[in-house]
Every structure is written in structure tokens, then in C-alpha cells.
Amino acid sequence: MGATKLSGMQKQVLSLYRGFLRAARSKPTTEDRKRIQTIVSTEFRKNSKEVDRKNFQYIEYLLRLGHKQLDQLKSPDMVSISSVKIN
């Protein structure tokens, strides 16, 4: 269990993650829901490992970007999201 108290910024990141998962649940097909969930969770987990905890500027930038993408995803016309890996 997370014994240490979460900082304000950590709470914001978690609420954004929850928001994405809730938006995913409102989509019509199970396949779409799974796809959104995997993309979002890989993105968040990757960033949590790579981004320095103290790099507030970059974290806030990612939070703003995430909120905008979440607003787009929430609209009922959006069916799913996809991501492409370029090496």
C-alpha cells in the first residue's frame, strides 16, 4: 500500500489516468476499450520511469497535453485511439 502521502502533482497525474480509463469505458466496443486502455497505460508507465520526478515543467506540460487529449476522447464521436511506433 502507498504509505507515503502523494504530492499534489502525483494526484493530478493519477486523476488524469483515471479520467482516461473512465472515458475508455464509455466507448461502444470492448476491443476499442482494451486498445485505449493499453495505449494509455503504456504511455503513463513509460513516462513514470523515464521522466525525472523533479522535472515539474515537463510533467506540467505533459499534464496539459493529456487533459486536451482527454477532452477530445470524451466526445461521443471519438471511437478509439491508435498509436504508431517509429524507430
Binding site: Q57, Y58, L62
Partner: protein
């Protein structure tokens, strides 16, 4: 254009030296008799680590157009293609190139480069706005505030001749002068200290100017509702007539005057 780059790293900033890029860029066409001017431009990239920095660029003014936008385009074309900024019409009509030049907000396409080549011109993004990259700022809050005042004609009764224009006298149309010209460049709102301290709650001079434009429109029938909607301690009354907005407006408008007009109507 690697041949034109000055290879040595000016060691004023150790973090810049660590990145091994030349911190002073000079135009490749630097010849004898050239009038070199240094531009310090705000750079920040989310992907690369580090804090925002002012990067120096040297340009030959004889080889460049008179406006700051000409200099920025020349830098992007010849020296550093990674420099990012918004621009569109290049004639002061679209409002895309709004930025802070030498401490004053203005449009890059309308601001002349100060020909005194010994002075350094500093170009930074609009103050107190979240930066997306280099000189590009996040305008969503600004546009949402404009949307919130409902900037369209609202009527309760249909037009006197259905399907035809709603007529307006020349005197009533003249009331809109000084407000319809606003291009939503955000120079005024981002120059207002009151807007810096309360960007989410205070509407800002641009949105309030447009609110007055619709309040003063004789064809609009929702005047009372519009006035009540903005009659708020934060939305309207954060304005303390600082009047930085009138000073910053590149189109010569006076948002402060329009705000005081709204305040008068509220009584």
C-alpha cells in the same frame, strides 16, 4: 547550411556548452560591409531536457526585410530550422505572430527591427502563457474565454423582413468602431498584470472588448442578459484600469475604454 555556422562554442553558459551546439549562429552570407544585429530568441523544447534559454542569432540587416517577422523567417530558413513560431498573413490582419519583442507585446509582422545594430533585440513568447514550444503559446484558455461571452447575434424577435438583413442605422454601426477590428491576437490580455494573476477567472481585455461589441450592437436583443452574465467580481471587476492593453494593441484599439463603458452600463 553547416558551412555558415560558427563552430566555436561561446562559453557563457556551461549547460549550452555541454550540448555541443554552437550558441552563436551567423548568417552564411556575412560579408564585409554587412550590418550585423544580434537577436536573442527564447528557446524551449519539451523533448530535450533543460530549462528555457535565450539563444543568440546574428543577421545582416541589409539582407533582410524591415520587420521582425522577416528576421525570424530568415533565421528559420538559413540558420536554424528548428525555431518554431506562428505566422500567417504577414500583414497584421490574422494575429498569429503575436509575441513579446524587446519587452513589448506586438505582432512580429508589424514591428520594425530597430536599425541600431549595437542593441540586442530580445524576442520572447507572450508573457504568462504556457509555452508549447519556442515562441508558440497555449491559447486555449484565451479562446475559451472569448467563447464564453457568446460572440454571436442573439435575437428574441425575428427580423422585420424574414430572410433579409436586420437593418442598422449608420449611427448605430459607428458605435461598433474600435471593437470590430479586434483580431484576437492576445497582445492586450497578455500585457495586463491583472490577467497574469487571474488568468482563469478574469476574462481579460480582449474578451471584454468583444463583450462590449455585442452589448453595443443595436441588432442584438440580449443586452440585459449579456450584462448580467459578466457582472461578476472576477470576470469584469479585476480590471483596475491599468491600461497596458491600450498600449500593447497592435491595431490601435482601446480595450480599457470599452471595459469602462461596460462598467458604466452596469450601474
Amino acid at each position: 547550411m553547416a558551412s555558415g555556422l560558427v563552430g566555436r562554442v561561446v562559453g557563457t553558459n556551461p549547460s549550452r556548452a555541454a550540448r555541443l551546439i554552437p550558441s552563436r549562429w551567423t548568417s552564411s552570407k556575412a560579408v564585409v560591409g554587412a550590418k550585423l544585429k544580434t537577436f536573442q530568441i527564447y528557446r524551449w523544447n519539451a523533448d530535450s531536457p533543460g530549462k528555457p534559454e535565450l539563444q543568440d542569432y546574428q543577421l545582416d540587416l541589409k539582407d533582410c526585410g524591415p520587420m521582425v517577422l522577416d528576421a525570424l523567417i530568415k533565421i528559420t530558413n538559413e540558420m536554424d530550422p528548428s525555431l518554431t513560431f506562428r505566422r500567417s498573413c504577414r500583414e497584421g490582419m490574422c494575429g498569429s505572430c503575436a509575441m513579446n519583442i524587446d519587452g513589448c507585446n506586438g505582432l512580429a509582422c508589424l514591428t520594425k527591427i530597430e536599425s541600431e545594430s549595437s542593441k540586442v533585440t530580445t524576442i520572447t513568447p507572450l508573457p504568462h502563457m504556457f509555452v508549447i514550444k519556442d515562441l508558440v503559446v497555449d491559447m486555449t484558455n484565451f479562446y475559451n474565454q472569448y467563447k464564453s461571452i457568446e460572440p454571436w447575434l442573439k435575437r428574441k424577435t425575428p427580423a422585420s423582413v424574414p430572410g433579409k438583413e436586420i437593418l442598422q442605422s449608420k449611427k448605430d454601426r459607428a458605435k461598433l468602431d474600435g471593437m470590430y477590428e479586434c483580431i484576437l491576437c492576445a497582445c492586450c490580455s497578455t500585457s495586463c498584470p491583472s490577467y497574469w494573476w487571474n488568468p482563469e477567472s478574469y476574462l481579460g481585455p480582449a474578451a471584454l472588448l468583444h463583450a462590449n461589441r455585442w452589448i453595443s450592437d443595436s441588432r442584438d436583443e440580449y443586452t440585459k442578459e449579456r450584462l448580467e452574465a459578466i457582472n461578476d467580481e472576477f470576470k469584469l471587476y479585476r480590471c483596475h484600469t491599468i491600461l497596458n492593453c491600450a498600449r500593447a494593441c497592435p491595431k490601435g484599439l482601446n480595450p480599457g475604454k470599452q471595459i469602462s463603458h461596460i462598467k458604466q452600463l452596469q450601474k
